[in-house]
């Protein structure tokens, strides 16, 4: 049995009782203060810095800031490198996701853990690890250098490598999840029609999981665009060659804070655009 006053309150809430009463039910009684106060503080903590960024933006000089050659160069380099890193992630990450989702092999759990590791690894450590592997004296890099004359550290290609290293796990995890949710019997149907496993993947599975791949690619691209630690460690900070937007922001903050704010605003706008683009996928729960 429900006590009668509680039942009344429930009825009021359901049927839309007086506004005053509903307000008391919703805040005063519904949410205990020990939870409400930290929750509101947490919200403020997340939102106030973004508001501060908007408040301190030099709106009058913004067009000038954004069109200055330095900023333009960093922006261009960022877009190119993030897009290239996303392309690398797609080419290598989608097959990797398929392997993890569809093929049973010993140590699959371990492989999945290794793929996920860069998600939680401090990016600087990733940068150092990349130097050990692909640096001029790295275990792979020395051969790249002596056989092909390819040097990756401190080049634009190095930026792409660093960004892909950090961003690819996002894509793999996203695509693998979509693959697991997709019905593998469509692939079986395709093989009974004469399709090889690769043809079945290309002509049936790939179109079916395209939305998941797109979401993973956007996520990876956003992550690559904001990459700082691995990039500065592995590729350095040379304007026009390896200085991407986050690096430019960090550097500008010491000499030209207004430029730093303008650059930050651009990155914020991109983040909001990404979130809006993915809202159907991740924000429908709300």
């Amino acid at each position: 049995m429900i006590p009668s006053d509680k039942a009344d309150a429930a009825t009021d809430t359901l049927q839309g009782g007086p506004r005053r009463r509903r307000g008391r039910t919703g805040v005063g009684r519904g949410v205990p203060l020990p939870l409400l106060i930290p929750a509101l503080l947490g919200l403020a903590f997340l939102v106030v810095p973004l508001i501060a960024l908007l408040v301190r933006t030099p709106w009058h000089s913004l067009p000038e800031q954004l069109t200055s050659p330095d900023v333009w160069q960093a922006l261009q380099l960022s877009l190119i490198c993030a897009t290239a890193a996303t392309a690398v992630s797609l080419v290598l990450g989608v097959p990797l996701a398929w392997l993890l989702a569809r093929v049973e092999f010993p140590g699959r759990g371990l492989v999945r853990a290794l793929v996920t590791l860069p998600l939680v690894l401090p990016p600087v450590v990733g940068g150092v690890a990349l130097l050990m592997a692909l640096g001029r004296n790295g275990i792979v890099g020395q051969w790249l250098d002596s056989w092909f004359g390819i040097t990756l550290p401190f080049t634009t290609a190095g930026v792409v490598v660093a960004e892909a290293f950090v961003a690819m796990p996002f894509l793999v995890i996203s695509v693998e999840g979509t693959l697991r949710a997709a019905d593998p019997r469509y692939e079986e149907a395709a093989t009974t029609l004469g399709a090889s496993r690769f043809t079945a993947f290309r002509r049936v599975t790939l179109p079916l999981i395209a939305p998941g791949i797109a979401a993973g690619a956007v996520l990876a691209w956003a992550r690559a665009l904001g990459e700082f630690g691995a990039t500065i460690t592995f590729a350095g900070n040379f304007p026009g060659r390896t200085q991407t937007m986050p690096l430019a922001v960090y550097l500008a903050l010491q000499s030209d804070p207004e430029a730093a704010i303008a650059l930050s605003l651009v990155l914020l706008a991109v983040s909001i655009a990404v979130l809006a683009g993915l809202r159907d996928r991740w924000m429908t729960a709300g």
């Binding site: 093989t191 399709a195 090889s196 179109p207």
Partner: protein, 359 residues
């Protein structure tokens, strides 16, 4: 539809399907032998979980054989991957590719077999036309009705010119009305199909309408096979007897009397000796409230009503007692007898309406 008798099948042993399918899956073991001639339609009939679908998947190459063999038109297929087998499959829920139109779904197979895009589409269009679906060729699967999707799935499977056509519960996804119509169409298409067709179903009506021969599978084993008429008249397991609506008993015959393993005896018109089955339809049973005085004491049993259900315009009474049996009677008769669960009645069956046959 051509009927193949035992002798011609033996003569053309190289043609058609010759399979011994053994699939081990943990505690479950499927062990089924199948021989099907070209032009013949065989239905694997059995309850859910009997292993029918495993058998179908083994034929298609989607699960490997643990043992046995698989030959189609004389060629060994045991180790052939599914994409290289001349096999077409109509899946239970069709599995039409949702991102492709009906036409491209059907063209998928020919395309994989090396046809150019234009050739594949022309073949697909011809198949859809044959299925009466020409005007739906541009539709995506979600726009198709259940019956249309079923025909697209059939066209897709046939478009690769398979030597073995497999159908998994081809009518299960349809509602009752569509089912009647699609069953008749499917029967025509199967009759036109010149190679081996194997279908899997748990519905005896589908099996009997569509197939020339039934193979009944229970617990991974073949328990009986034969023509639909033969199986309907001579069921050998309780499952089949229930499917075809017969009372079935097993016993030992001495002349016209069959002593059942469970005790009571049944008088039959056949004169047999040794282990036999006795079957009679529920409509052959007559019920009395009191012990009938005039009737002979033969085939008379006292029973208790365990349950009643309507069965068309009849009432089916489920009786327990020394001889458990099902009896059909009219609603009026049921009312006059005042039948209700727990009521005690006398049941009789005329010897001429029973049917005994050797095990």
């Amino acid at each position: 539809m051509t009927k193949i008798d035992e002798t011609t099948r033996a003569d053309t042993a190289v043609e058609g399907l010759d399979a011994h399918l053994v699939v081990d899956r943990g505690t479950f073991r499927l062990d089924v032998t199948l021989a099907v001639a070209p032009g013949e339609v065989v239905a694997l009939l059995g309850p859910n979980g009997a292993g029918k679908t495993s058998a179908l998947r083994a034929l298609a190459g989607l699960v490997p054989l643990s043992d046995g063999h698989l030959r189609l038109d004389g060629a060994e297929l045991d180790r052939t991957p599914p994409e290289s087998r001349p096999v077409g499959v109509v899946f239970q829920d069709y599995l039409l590719f949702p991102h492709l139109t009906a036409l491209d779904n059907v063209a998928f197979g020919p395309r994989c077999h090396g046809a150019t895009k234009a050739e594949a589409r022309a073949q697909a269009a011809a198949w859809l036309d044959r299925m009466g679906l020409a005007e739906h060729s541009g539709a995506k699967p979600r726009k198709l009705s259940g019956g249309q999707a079923q025909r697209v799935a059939l066209a897709r499977a046939l478009a690769t010119n398979p030597r073995l056509l497999l159908l998994d519960e081809p009518l299960a996804a349809l509602d009752a009305r569509t089912r009647l119509e699609v069953r008749a169409q499917l029967r025509r298409h199967l009759a036109d199909f010149e190679a081996v067709a194997v279908l899997v179903t748990h519905d005896p009506l589908d099996a009997m309408v569509l197939a020339d021969r039934l193979v009944v599978v229970e617990h991974g084993q073949v328990v009986q096979e034969g023509t639909p008429a033969d199986i309907a008249r001579h069921p050998r397991t309780d499952y089949i007897a229930q499917l075809v609506g017969l009372n079935l008993y097993r016993g030992r015959a001495e002349g016209h009397t069959v002593r059942l393993d469970t005790g009571p005896a049944i008088t039959t018109s056949e004169d047999l000796t040794g282990p036999v089955f006795v079957a009679f339809p529920p409509s052959a049973v007559t019920l009395f409230r009191d012990r009938p005085t005039g009737a002979s004491a033969r085939n008379l049993w006292q029973c208790e009503v365990a349950g009643l259900e309507t069965h068309g315009d009849q009432i089916r009474a489920d009786l327990t007692g020394e001889l458990p049996l099902a009896a059909d009677l009219t609603t009026v008769a049921a009312a006059e007898l005042d039948l209700h669960p727990g009521a005690r009645v006398w049941a009789t069956v005329k010897a001429t309406q029973t049917h005994a046959y050797a095990v």
